[in-house]
Symmetry: C2
Subunit: 297 residues, 2 copies
């Protein structure tokens, strides 16, 4: 076990982890369990020192991480913290690559990538889509964005940390984009739509058991339809032999009229607004997926 | 094969099907294939006559259906058509039960149920959630609402028509409620949220392949979360050790700010509106599911 309190030289370490909160600590522990050599740094050293027993090298200067690790994972609270860290280091002495897993926005990831490009630092940006206790499992998801070859060079260790890790695109903001778009906007909105629908159904005499019975069927259809939408977007095919947007517009209005007198119907109201705009934009006879063509309100 | 062109007496038939459009015809054909005795009636007789080869009895008067079948399935275009049919019959001579599968609203189902109750006619109302070509398969879904014992008495034949048929509640409107709430409001809104998110992600450099890779994970989480929501609604438990509505409010606003400059963000905008109202209503520290407590806007 390596318990040195500092290191010198270059690339002596497989991994450095900057930030030893719950997530950073989980990453360091799993990497150590999987026999990688790992150094850790935390702003307040106490949290880093707790990892010594697991085999981590504790660094006293953050610059040592960047100068000695093949991959330095940054996992701190905010992008402001990342900026502050990078301001303290000499970019010409960065030995390996940086993978920033700090929660942030796509524009922030792209801004950090621009800094890295300017200084010739190999840089990847990512988003963590799992809990610390899932790190190391097959289910754990880490999305990584940035140059393909850089991903290839470091994919083994990232996959050791998260079985479900994958490369989402070459634009550095892409991981945060997926976090905002799929996990955020899609997931949250669907959940709220589900809760509003559940409230309406419950008040109208439908039991939650009846809902549970129909759910697998509904979610299966959902998954099929989503794949159809992605295929249509890929091929630009919006002609349909199924329901046209006019049919959706009419059905949506009926559902809204049915639900609205009985409580919140925010989501189906927003949905009918989208259908109205789509029809007004000339998409009346096209498939539901054609609403990808709408411009901002 | 029974090809009589009319019938007399009572309950000589297992099933009568009123309305021989694509759906009614599929129902009649499948019932005949499964060895039930079936009579059919259609406003224009040509469509009914096509079913003679399959073994159907064609009725010349719609009242014969109600007077001779153990179960009469009504599958016409609109509730107005159903009202017109019922106005032509003598309710005291209805021999079996009626199952109305015509598309309609919950209030319309309840109104027809009130008519049936007034005349002592055993009445079920339902909603068909599949295509005509699926009728007879295990996947076919027909939701049925009305008195439990009436469902039990006729569930065999309905399940023969649709493997996934089930009883959703005793309130007659309940099947249409589920159609509007789960299939309509929830499903449509989620789909629109997905398309808006897909557009945003595509423009920001995320490939549809990356989306496909993450989708199974997202939909699994979705399914888990939905069951958690139903359990919370059942038990009235809205305390949480996960994200509170304040956390959702902040995250939703960040996702909206991230997406909105790049195109339509209608659904996440509506979602943040719900979070804002929930927090204003005093639900800040409760679980996402607590938005079931919100009253109408």
């Amino acid at each position: 076990m390596n318990t040195r309190s500092d290191v010198t030289g270059t690339n002596q370490l497989d991994l450095a982890v900057i930030g030893c909160g719950n997530m950073g600590s989980a990453i360091a522990r799993v990497a150590l369990e999987k026999q990688y050599s790992v150094a850790v740094w935390n702003r307040s050293p106490e949290r880093a020192v707790r990892l010594v027993d697991a085999g981590a090298t504790v660094l006293t200067e953050v610059s040592q991480a960047f100068q000695n690790a093949d991959l330095t994972i940054v996992c701190v609270s905010t992008t402001d913290d990342v900026r502050a860290l990078l301001a303290q280091i000499d970019p010409t002495r960065v030995a390996g690559a940086i993978l920033n897993l700090t929660s942030g926005l796509p524009d922030e990831a792209n801004e950090l990538a621009a800094w890295a490009a300017e200084h010739g630092v190999p840089y990847l940006d990512g988003a963590i889509l799992c809990f610390p206790e899932q790190i190391g499992s097959a289910e754990a998801r880490i999305l990584v964005a940035g140059p393909e070859q850089l991903w290839t060079a470091h994919s083994d260790i990232v996959r050791a940390l998260a079985g479900g890790a994958f490369h989402v695109g070459t634009v550095h903001g892409a991981a945060n984009v997926m976090d905002a778009g799929l996990v955020g906007a899609f997931y949250m909105s669907s959940m709220v739509a589900f809760i509003e629908a559940t409230r309406y159904m419950g008040n109208a005499g439908v039991s939650t058991d009846a809902l549970r019975s129909l759910l697998p069927h509904t979610l299966d259809q959902f998954s099929e339809e989503i794949h159809d939408i992605l295929n249509r977007v890929d091929t630009g095919t919006f002609a349909t032999e199924r329901a046209t947007l006019t049919v959706y517009q009419e059905a949506g209005q009926t559902f809204l009229d049915t639900m609205a007198p009985h409580g919140p119907a925010t989501m189906i109201r927003a949905t009918t607004g989208v259908f109205d705009r789509a029809v007004a934009a000339g998409l009346a006879n096209e498939d539901l997926a054609a609403i990808v063509k709408l411009s901002a309100e």
